[in-house]
Symmetry: C2
Subunit: 231 residues, 2 copies
DNA sequence: CAAAATTGTAACTAAATAGTTAAATTTTTC
DNA sequence: GAAAAATTTAACTATTTAGTTACAATTTTG
């Protein structure tokens, strides 16, 4: 009963697999992409444990063995899905930040482009929150690295701003959590907020929230420059 | 196959059950509490779908039928666990806030006591994040109400502060997400942060983070009072 | 174009899982 | 202290679930 299971056949190596499919982008046909997209949705909705391979079949319209052919097993699918998901959000954010000039504009670009990307791909904040809630122990290393790149980018911006004498001293991690935390909560809580019809009507749009958040973060970080405050 | 299952026996009504166990607090003996505590832990770790009743048995040392006797079914157990969990955090926060004098102290009390309670009961931020990530659709109404009480309390504080002329105009929801988001991320990410040994060493303690966060939120909200900034 | 590699399918298996049952034990109540 | 009610137990069942297998169709490559 508690004996180790004997696997008669090794599942195809995950790394080998994802590398192969990465190398020939043409070759990862509609099927593999459909699987990945549907799986990502489901993982965001109900997590790893809450998602079943059978539902993935019916929702994606792909047969089960195809899934196992492409991704080895459920854990492998999760790994690929999360890594691509995080990359698809972090990469554009870093690109946008890199194009901005000056630490203040970079901070602004950081907040705004993360907000936009995460809102465009709301599965990402959902998965991120769920993963952190679990202690991040099932988070693939590659996905974790993406988040670390994001934190590092913010750290550089804040340091540069301090050196330029326009930002106060601040803790990068707290600031990072402040920005990501508010935006992830805002984006993922959308269905919940929409479900409470017009009881209190205290909802801003995403753009308004970005503005609010940006101005709050700037108020917290900027050194006494006179700013117009059109809240 | 797709026919509705015929249940031979109705499980004991959930409401009836929880009401009964609530009424006689003495009566909810060690067993029920052990079940609840272990279940809450597990739900925080791996969510509803990721938690199994068999593991709950082995981890709590309680037999399966006892669980079903006390809580009806898995969903019922989840409902009771979440409601009690959220109440156990929100109640003390509201009490502490009510004791503070003046909107600035109340804001401070809000942040600090939520941070302390959530850190004392880290299962709560974990479950909260996971639930919001799922769209909050499985969140028991009673648990949702607790969160709404919290938001309402902050709203009152912010409004009072505006009327007193010490707070800028601000959006309560964004501010709420900012405070809860940062703190929930900080608390739940602890295992992750501890796992990265001393690579970058950019971690503050909870108390330092509370200080940082409070001063950032205050900087964002307070109207140009000269403050000492010992960051 | 033919052999080989890749991509797809349906039916199957073994294990895990939620939930049940009937009877034993403990606690409450009269 | 005995009847009744509440609580706990071990063994069982039906379903769901991850993962497999053998084979068919398609695509790639020499």
């Amino acid at each position: 009963m508690t004996q180790a299971k004997i696997k008669t056949k090794e599942p195809p190596s995950l790394v080998e697999h994802s590398t192969l499919s990465r190398l020939r982008a043409k070759k990862r046909g509609k099927t593999a992409n459909k699987i990945l997209a549907t799986a990502t949705e489901m993982f965001a909705e109900t997590g790893f444990g809450g998602s079943t391979m059978d539902e993935l079949c019916s929702r994606s319209g792909v047969n089960k063995a195809s899934i196992y052919y492409h991704f080895g097993d459920k854990a492998g699918l999760y790994e690929v899905a999360l890594t691509e998901l995080f990359k698809s959000v972090v990469e554009p954010v870093l690109k946008t930040v890199a194009q901005a000039q000056g630490s203040r504009n970079q901070l602004h670009a950081f907040i705004e482009s993360f907000a936009q990307q995460a809102s465009l791909t709301p599965t990402m904040p959902a998965v991120l929150m769920r993963e952190i809630a679990s202690g991040g122990m099932n988070m693939p290393i590659a996905a974790r690295e993406q988040m670390q790149r994001l934190l590092f980018a913010l750290k550089v911006i804040l340091q540069q701003g301090e050196e330029d004498g326009i930002f106060k001293e601040s803790d990068p991690l707290t600031t990072h959590f402040m920005i990501l935390g508010s935006l992830c909560l805002f984006i993922t809580s959308e269905p919940m907020r929409l479900a409470i019809p017009a009881e209190k009507k205290l909802d801003l749009s995403l753009d308004e929230t970005i503005q609010q958040l940006t101005s709050m973060v700037e108020a917290a970080l900027l050194i006494a420059n006179k700013e117009d405050e059109n809240v």
